[in-house]
Structure formats: structure tokens, C-alpha cells
Symmetry: D2
Subunit: 359 residues, 4 copies
């Protein structure tokens, strides 16, 4: 039941990692938008496996087809069906896991829930599902940009213990894309790359933190109580494979502060109300205040590793599992376009919701 | 539009901090449940202002009325209307804020969104809104306990720099309730209480971290992709006033680990599949695995402080604001029943959703 | 689970006929609307029992309280809690039905669904539930009128075999309110009133047809496919107690026509596209075309009668049931404000949805 | 926004009549169902254009592909992507309608709503959209049959003034399929066929009434208030192209009856509560009572005719329109599998909702 997100800009994704196709249906995209297909494909390419030496070597062209909702290049207001075929699925690699549950994967829990699973891959829990989100999110980005000039940029802020230092105000997309790690701090990026390669050579994996900024977000987005902007962003981020934490604004760093240090005092910037600091990350009471929205997402180390692990079979037998195959030793670099897309879906939905807030 | 949560166990809250009443409508509560009203009132009392020397001195009896959905003590399957009247609202205390936006409150953003606000308090952004959630959550707790023996316990794990040490497996509710801070580590609790009092005496405020465990959760709850259990928990937690972060399982601590350290290896416990560690916090691929669910919520320092702050008026004039009034210098102790309730709402909805997962 | 309607203007009703209160929560009402409370109360009074010689003699003042969402007379954009207390519930009248299922009432089906029921009245199936809809609908009417000048008028078009003749284009509300039957054709109204009194004197009941027109509806409301305007209107009408049919435009009368007779040819009226006829009832492809929206609702004879009927007990014993009590021998007159309210809820939701349809 | 239906068994359709493909996403189908693909294709074939001498001659193989949600023939519990490619779209036939609005089609209203439309066909308003519903409905039928033995049968009950006489209790699917009109009363069927051919030869069209029965529906399906079973059925039916009316049970025929005639008295059939008559059509208070569910759907004459009609252009010029092309002179025969599918979607959703109704 959980394959859908959004109230007005409503996205449903479909597809297993080893089925015929993956994709998404986008409902509620306003009519009349001239879609830039190259931009959508570009985001899919940023998410694509096999794009660099530090990502999985599965080869997927991930060529997008749009089967409905578009006419002479413009959105019709009807559902957009976004489709990407699976080309390089390799079920044989998964044969050993037909009966054995891989630790910290969704194999066991999927069977507990549904009574069966497609063992030829990670099914819906695979990061391959995010193809649909990235394509849908790329459309949301175009709505956001067209309607309000909003731009969303994510980057790898930390891998293991290596912390980058990034000026989110002046960050440019090309700085992030300048290296395979997608960390705009080139010095940290080099260290991260070395660390990821070293971890991979040990058949192991490593986690890290992504940070994301949304600039030019008008004040007023987000709904009080359950659908606070932070709440919807948190949900969107924790719905990503391997995500285990979310923080808005300063997040954890606010714990050591007093209210008098943390509060964002107001001042006028011409006719505009602005805050002197942005500790809240652009959101107060769950509603955007016009300052840049900033948040972080924590990713655990990838569950796929090539070291021996204790496991059990679906018959309840204890076994030692040693995997082989293709994997990402660190999900962070490929997660950058995914986090941007997930944030775009949330913001686009709230941008459209806002139109009904006042008489 | 954001006053509702849940797909099957669906809760809508209503009420401003300074209106006639606050409360909730609970739809989708299974019929035939013998409601324990005293237990609901008990949770409301735990949330109530004025309950201890370290909470706000607003006096609200918070006596619950159930106006529908109940017959001879049992739920009818129809909506339960849960109502609590506002008794001690003090609009005069808010008169200064009619034109001045309080920093890091929702005053400015609410006006940006809706064009007006009830300035006689925090409106929907006030923690008073959580009365409805706590009452609804107390009902969800009873469903969870009746159907599956699930119990949910939250506690204050950190205030400022003071970190408690708590054994979540063996924690008892009475240990948490043993002191006004609601920290079951009595030594840390004493330090936290002293810190909160000291901060209050300075007219300042402080944040911290709550941790929560749900025990006896069966494997299989949570939906793949957007409605992962962690995603819904994250949303529920970030929808609480002053919450700025969420972590599932080890959360941030997983960043420094390798996959080989972090993965939760399986073993058999009789006929049951269990994990040797619980770094994932009882959730894999967004679905519960039968181990205890554990997560943390970060709360920033309360925005209400009694020190002078720069602000602006709704006419765009820069002013110096110095507040007086009643407030909580630290929201954590009263947030304990709120976090439990919010978690109960998520789990109860997924418990009922799970009934439709298989043929 | 079914107590809610609307996607943006979202209404949840609550309350049993013999519980503490009935009412509704209205979410998504745009902020800034100066509510005319007298108009809301007026619609509640039109729905009220005991208002005339041909309606049930239950005495309910049905005085509305608004407990939230309103400040200085204006909507805040937060949920409006609309509450009406039950004053004249008479459970003793229902004692005989504690074990016996009343034919064509919801007694048996409610127990089949929920395993129990509040036997002290019709519970959620009672027309008393419509108090919440009428109050919420009266607010929707004000939004519709304020934003687009839309007005909605229903009337009794038929009782038994007596058919009224009404010019829907020029109909005025006061014509409908001029007699207790609420039929603007005064001659037919007199016959209907006589028929209803005669039926009542026999302890029997009778059905009929309501017709409704919505004028000044702009073109463009309604969504293709599942949420066509007619589909949502049909659902709203069939959700009313005793409703058994819906027709849009000519409805059943279109069956005998050829396409060449039925099609509504276009012409220009100044700069506006209009149709020469309005057989479609103002809706084409599920979307309003700017002409008046017209539809009918069929109501069966009231199930409550005072003649002996075969029935069974909840123990499976066959019995002869002979009821006594208060009832409406014909639901049509009191259904007029209910149908208007139900239509207003649908139109208001679509009016707000329309704001997100284009860039 | 309106391309979705169902709360638990949730279906989203996509595709324009002249785009790349049409289809549906089915979410919430219980896992573990062995899908009979031939049965699904069979329903698509019953809906297919060009199947008989009295339907449109557009040639579409309508071969179904299932791209996700299925593994080794069984449903996985994840979304099923159902896809049918458009093969015989003929945009050139629609070139005259690029600027001219066809009377009683959705051309004008679609542009009023979205600001543009795909003029190469009926877009989302085309009956081609129902491909997705029929495929999804065919899956719902299998769930209904597997879980509860429910079967749904629709038939053409009336064309123009020709009324069939059908015994819904003993009706067999093959009787309906025995002639191209899909009317199980063979004598009436022959007259209907002659009438349809005669109307077609005049370049005109004709409407009629479909009737549908669902047998073996257990008592307890449907939700009080807004989601009454009749309300959801009415919505589903009025969402079908050309549908203009719905009646449940006796519907309009109940208007002339007294309550004492219309009420369905109870009796025992062994241990089962049954009704002596079934005037209510198996539903009381919006909840199924275990008797066969019966309802009718009124379809207006097809809007596509080949006679001259007054119309206007999108520039506001009055013109005379004379169409040519392929069309169904009467939509009823092909609507039979569509109505069955639409009913199956409603019943399947309520069957699954019912699982959460009691503790």
C-alpha cells in the first residue's frame, strides 16, 4: 500500500529490481508545462549504476519513455506514465539468496509481510525503485523552477569520519558533479574516494551523510500539525533505501545550545522579513520562512558486503553466508540526485497545496 | 490541510491553543474494544502543563470527554470525538505579540501562509494541539496492546550535554515516571533537573533527545517504498513542535561503522528468526523484523525565552522584543507521552494495514 | 472508515443519533473567510426535526457551536470543529429494537459489519448524522458564493406519483421555503402535503424525487476519470440516508432519445461559449461547462413504518414487529437542505482543486 | 487529480486515447494470488473495439503486458503495472476537431480546465481509458472470487425503448455473451441489435440501461456515511463515459411504493438472516446484507454522431460541424465488462477494508 506520495502532485512508483520495468505515474502535474526531457534524463544518468569507478557495475541505460500525459511537449494535466525498462538484471547472481536471508536487507521482512518475495534481487526494497522517484522528481524540479524559481542541490557532506566543508549559500551544481563522490569540497572528496575504494577492496561498505539545500523557497509552504514541511521531508528521506536519520537545520547540533543562541532573530531586508541566522533551516512551525531550507540525511553502510555473515534460511536453518556480486560500497554518491528528487516531490506538492490556503 | 494522519486508523486533530477546545476525531478504530478511559486520562495528565516544578504553570485540568463512537464502554467502529476544553488560556499575555513576530515561533510563517493568525497564543503550532494526539494515541496504545501485546515506552535520553544510560530492553514505565524529568537513569535525571532549573532562572531554554522503544512488535509491519515504518515514524516525530531530528536504530552512530560491523546477523531463537544485534532498530527495508523498534527524536531549545531579541512587526518595523509569561524551559519531559502517542498512531495504522497484505 | 469526504475541502462527520453530540470537522477551508453564522444556523433549522406538521416530532434545538478554526469571525485555515449536542434522544423508544432488526434499516447490517451497535437509535445510519454535513455544507456554500457567486438550490420535485413543474433557471429560494413540503410548485405542493398526511395517518411512508440546480458554476470544475463531477455528486447523494438513485441532466429521460436530439449544440453568447440546450445538466466529460448543473436524487419510502412486519432477532428467532415512535413519513422536505449541503461540499472541493490544474 | 480510486485496493489509470499506451497501476492487491492472465485478457477482449458488427471498427489487439508486481505467476503485494499499447490510433480523423469543439464531448470542458488538450482523440475522456479499469477490475474479480466466491454479472437491460426481461438470480455469463448486444433475453437482444443497426445507418446514436448483479457478497461490506456501498458504486458508475444515472435496488420504481410495500422483511434461512424481498438491492444503510447486490446504470446516446450540428471554434466562431469516423452507435454492449470491472474495484476495496472493522 505504500507506493504513493503526495496529495496534489501525487506520485506512484512501480517495479521490482528484476522485473520487466520500473517507473512512476505522476498525477496532478499542472497542465501546460513544457517538459525538458533532457533534464529528466540527466538526473536519471546521475542516478544510473555503472557511472563511475566507485559505483556498482550493473549496466542499465535507464532510457526514459513517457507513455502518457504529454502532447506536443507539454503536460496535459493527465497522469504521466514514466517507464524505464530493466535491461541488465542478473537473477543468477541472486540464486544463493533464494532460501537465505541476507542480513540487514529486506529479504526476511518482505517474506514476513507478504508471505513470498521475488528473490531475484531486492524487489521493491532495491535502490532500483528510485528510478521512478528520480524521473518524477525531475519533473517536480521543473514545476518548482518554473513557478517559483526554486532550486534544490544536494551533496555528499560526510563519508565515514571524513567531513566536508561546504558553503550552501553559494554552492553550484557543477561543483558537486566535479568528482565521482559528488562532494563539492574537492579536498574532502579525494579523501572520501580513497576511503570508499579501500573499503570496497575489503569487500566491506561504509555510510555517510548527505546535505541538501533548497533556495528561493517562498514563505508559506508546509501545513501545520501533521504535514509540516520538515515532517514530509523527513518521511521522504527515511523512505530512501539505507537512510537511518534526518535532521532539519542544525538538527543534532542544536542540542548543546541555549534558546537564546539557537533562535533566529528577525530583521528587515528592504521590504522582506529575513532572519539573522538560519539555525532552523528555513522552516518554523513546519512552514517555510523564505530562508534557504537545509537538512541532512544519514545513510548507514550498504548492507551488501562480501564478508562471511551468520544467517538463516527460510526453513529455519542457521548458515554462513558469503556473497559475491555487484554492489555499491557506499550509496552516498548515487543518492545525491535521489535526495534532490525526493525533496522536489515534497516541495512541489506543498507549492500546489498552498494555492488553496487562502480565499 | 495537514491536520490528519493515518490511512486506516485515521486521526484528525483540531483546536487552537486559545480557542474553545482542542481534541481529535479517531476514525477506523476497530469495533468492540473496551476502552480504558482512566488510561487515556493518565496519558493526558502526563502531558498536562503545570504538573511539576519544571514545566509551564498554565493550569489546565485537561479532562477528556468522548462525545461519539462509544457505547456501553465499547468502541462502535464509528468516529470517536475526543474533546478537551481550554480553561486557562490567557490571551492578555500574548497582547504584545499581536504585531510582533516572536523569533523561531510560527507567528511569521503562519501569517505568510494564511494571511492572518490567532495571535492570542501559538494557534495550531502550540504544543497544546498535542492534547488531541495524546488522547488518540492512548486509544491506539490500547488497540496495539489488545491485538498484539505491543508496548511503547519513551524517555528523556539527553538534556543539553547530559546523556543518560538506559537499558531499553528491561526498562519499566515506572522508572521513567519516577522523576519530573522522565529520565529512568536517576543520576542523569538529577543533573538534568538541575540544568533545566538553572536555564530557567536565566530566562533561557534548552533542548535534548528523547528515545523510544516499542516492544513485541510482530514482524511484517510497514510498507515498502514511501510508507516505510521508519518513514512514517520520522514524519510523526518531525511533526511534533520543536522536533528537529530523527534517527532510527543507531542512526548517526552508524556513520562511522563498516557494513560488516553494522549488519544485524541472523540466528534462530527456537522457531523464531532473530538478529544477533539490533543496530537497525527493529526495522529492515522499512518493515519490522520482530526485534524491538528503537528510535530517537531531537528537540531544539524552546523558542520562548525571556531575554531580549531582535524582531520585526507585521508592519516591517525592526523592534527589540522582551517576553514575559509562562513557558517550558525544556520541552523534553512533557514530550515523553507525546512521542509515545505519535509512535502508537503509526504502529496502530500499520497493524491494521497489515491485515490486507496477504490473501 | 467512511466518515470523510473531500480531498482539499475535507469534511469528517461524527456522532450517533443517540450519543453526546453530532458534528463535523472541516479541514481545508480557505483562511480569511468572514463566516456568516446565522446562515449556517438557518440551514440547520431547515434540517431540524419538529419544524412542521409533516416531520418527526423529535425536539432538537440543534444550536451550533464552533470550537476551533475561527478568530474574530474569520476562518484561520485550521480545522473548524462544528458541534451540535443531542438533547431529545429517547432511547426508551428504541428498547424493543435492542434485539429485533428493523426491516430495511441498518440494524442488521451494522451488526454484521461491526459485531455490535448502539441500539438506542439509528447510530451512524440515522439522518441525525446529516447535522454535520449541513453545517459543513453551509460553510462550503459561503466559500462558493464568495469565490465564484455560485448558488445551489434544491426542491422537492416529486412525492409518490405527484410531479411538480419547476423552472430551475428562475427558481428562488423563498419559493421553495413557502410551504412545508419545500416544493416551489404550490399546486403540486398542496397535493404532496395531503398525500404525506394521508400516508402518515396509515402508519405508512412514501418516497419521491429531489431536484437540485447549481447556478454560476464556472467551466472547468471536475476531474477526468474517477472524480468526474457527476461521479462525486452521485457518491455524495447516494451517501444520504434513504437515497436510492441519482441522475445527471436528463438522466433516465435520455434513454429514449437519439444522440442528435440529446447532444447540446454550442453557440456563442457574446464572448462566452454556451450550449443551446442543457440536456447534459451542465457537465460534459465529468467537467462543468458553465451551464447550470442539474441533477435528481431518488429517495425510497422511509423504512420506519407503524405497520406489522416480519423480522428476526439477533438470536435468529422469527418475530412480528410493530413499531411505535416518532418518524418522518416522507424524508423529502427535510432532505432539501441536506442535498444542497452535499452538493456544496462536492463543488467547493472541486473549486479548490481547480486552482492546481494549470501552471 | 482524479485518476485514482480505492483506499486499499487502489487503482490509478493512465493514458490518452491517442498516446503511447493506456493502462493502470494496481496497488494493494493482496500478495500470493495466482493470477489467471487468460481471464484478464478475456475481459479486455470483451471490451475491445472492432469485436462485432455493432461496435466501432478501430482495430486494437489490446494485448496486456504486466510489467511489475508479479513473480512466478503470483502477486507480490507490490504495485502491478498493467500496460496496453495504442496501435490503431488515427489522429488524422480528428484533425477537423483541432479547433472545433464536438457537442456533448469533453473537448470544450477539457480546455476550460487545463488550458490545452490532446485534440487527436478524446484524451482521458475517451472510452479507451477504460482499458486500464477493465484490466484492474479483472484482477479484483479474481480476488473477490478467491476470497469470498463473489461473482459479478452485468447485462444490457434496455436499449432505447426496448426492455429486456432477465432473471438475475439464475443468470449465467454465457447467456449474456451469446449475442453481440450482450442481452441475455435473446428476443429483446434481436430487437436491440436491429435498432442499433438502424440508428447507425442514420449516422445517429442511442442510449440505454445496463443492469448488474453481484452474488455471494457477504454481509458487512460498505462503510457508514460517505463510503456507503451504494455511494461508491454510484461514483464508480457515474465515472464511466456517457453514464448519466444510477439506481440501487428498485431505484426509481420505489418512488411509487409505500414503505410497507418496499421494506424487505426478514426471515431465517437455516441459520442465516435473509430478506423475503430484495427491493433494497442487497444493501441497507450502505452496507451489504448478504442478498444479491443489484443496480442499474443509465447511458445517454453516444455523443459522436454523423449528422450536422451547431458548434463553435476555440476562437469563438460559430460553425456547422459534420463528423466522419469510427464510433459506437450504442455504448451499451461494450460497457458490460466495464461496469463489471468498475463494480469489482469497489467491492474488492470494501472486502479488504472490512478486515479492519473489528478487533
Amino acid at each position: 500500500m505504500g507506493s504513493q506520495t503526495g496529495r496534489i502532485f501525487r506520485v506512484t512508483t512501480f517495479g521490482e529490481s528484476h522485473g520487466g520495468a520500473v517507473g512512476a505515474i505522476v498525477e496532478g502535474c499542472p497542465a501546460g508545462l513544457q517538459l525538458n526531457l533532457a533534464e529528466i534524463q540527466k538526473d536519471l544518468n546521475r542516478r544510473r549504476p555503472g557511472q563511475s569507478s566507485i559505483s556498482t557495475q550493473r549496466k542499465e541505460p535507464d532510457q526514459l519513455k513517457i507513455l502518457s500525459g504529454l502532447f506536443e511537449g507539454k503536460t496535459l494535466g493527465s497522469p504521466l506514465c514514466l517507464l524505464v525498462e530493466n535491461k541488465d538484471a542478473d537473477p543468477s547472481a541472486y540464486a544463493p539468496f533464494k532460501e537465505i536471508y541476507r542480513p540487514s536487507h529486506a529479504d526476511f521482512t518482505t517474506e514476513a509481510k507478504f508471505g513470498l518475495r521475488n528473490w531475484q534481487g531486492g524487489g521493491r526494497a532495491s535502490a532500483r525503485e528510485t528510478v521512478g522517484r528520480v524521473a518524477a522528481g525531475a519533473i517536480a524540479k521543473q514545476v518548482l523552477h518554473h513557478v517559483a524559481g526554486i532550486e534544490i542541490l544536494a551533496w555528499v557532506d560526510r563519508v565515514g569520519e571524513i567531513q566536508a566543508h561546504v558553503d550552501s549559500q553559494n554552492l553550484k551544481a557543477e561543483d558537486t558533479e566535479a568528482n565521482p563522490v559528488r562532494c563539492p569540497d574537492s579536498k574532502a572528496a579525494a579523501q572520501m574516494e580513497a576511503l570508499i575504494k579501500s573499503v570496497r577492496s575489503e569487500g566491506d561498505s561504509i555510510g555517510g551523510i548527505l546535505r541538501c539545500v533548497a533556495r528561493n523557497v517562498p514563505a508559506g509552504l508546509g501545513d501545520p500539525v501533521f504535514d509540516k514541511l520538515e515532517a514530509d521531508l523527513a518521511k521522504a528521506m527515511l523512505s530512501l533505501p539505507a537512510a537511518k536519520g534526518f535532521e532539519s537545520g542544525l538538527g543534532y547540533d542544536s542540542v548543546g545550545m541555549r534558546g537564546s543562541e539557537h533562535n533566529d532573530a528577525f530583521r528587515m531586508d528592504g521590504d522582506t522579513v529575513v532572519t539573522q541566522t538560519n539555525h532552523s533551516g528555513g522552516i518554523q512551525g513546519g512552514i517555510s520562512n523564505g530562508m534557504p531550507i537545509e537538512f541532512s540525511v544519514v545513510f548507514k553502510p550498504t548492507a551488501t558486503i562480501f564478508k562471511a555473515q551468520d544467517s538463516v534460511t527460510n526453513e529455519g536453518e542457521e548458515v554462513l553466508l558469503k556473497a559475491r556480486g555487484r554492489h555499491d560500497p557506499c550509496v552516498l554518491p548515487r543518492a545525491v540526485p535521489i535526495v534532490e528528487a525526493a525533496a522536489a516531490l515534497v516541495l512541489c506538492d506543498h507549492l500546489l497545496r498552498q494555492r488553496a490556503a487562502q480565499l
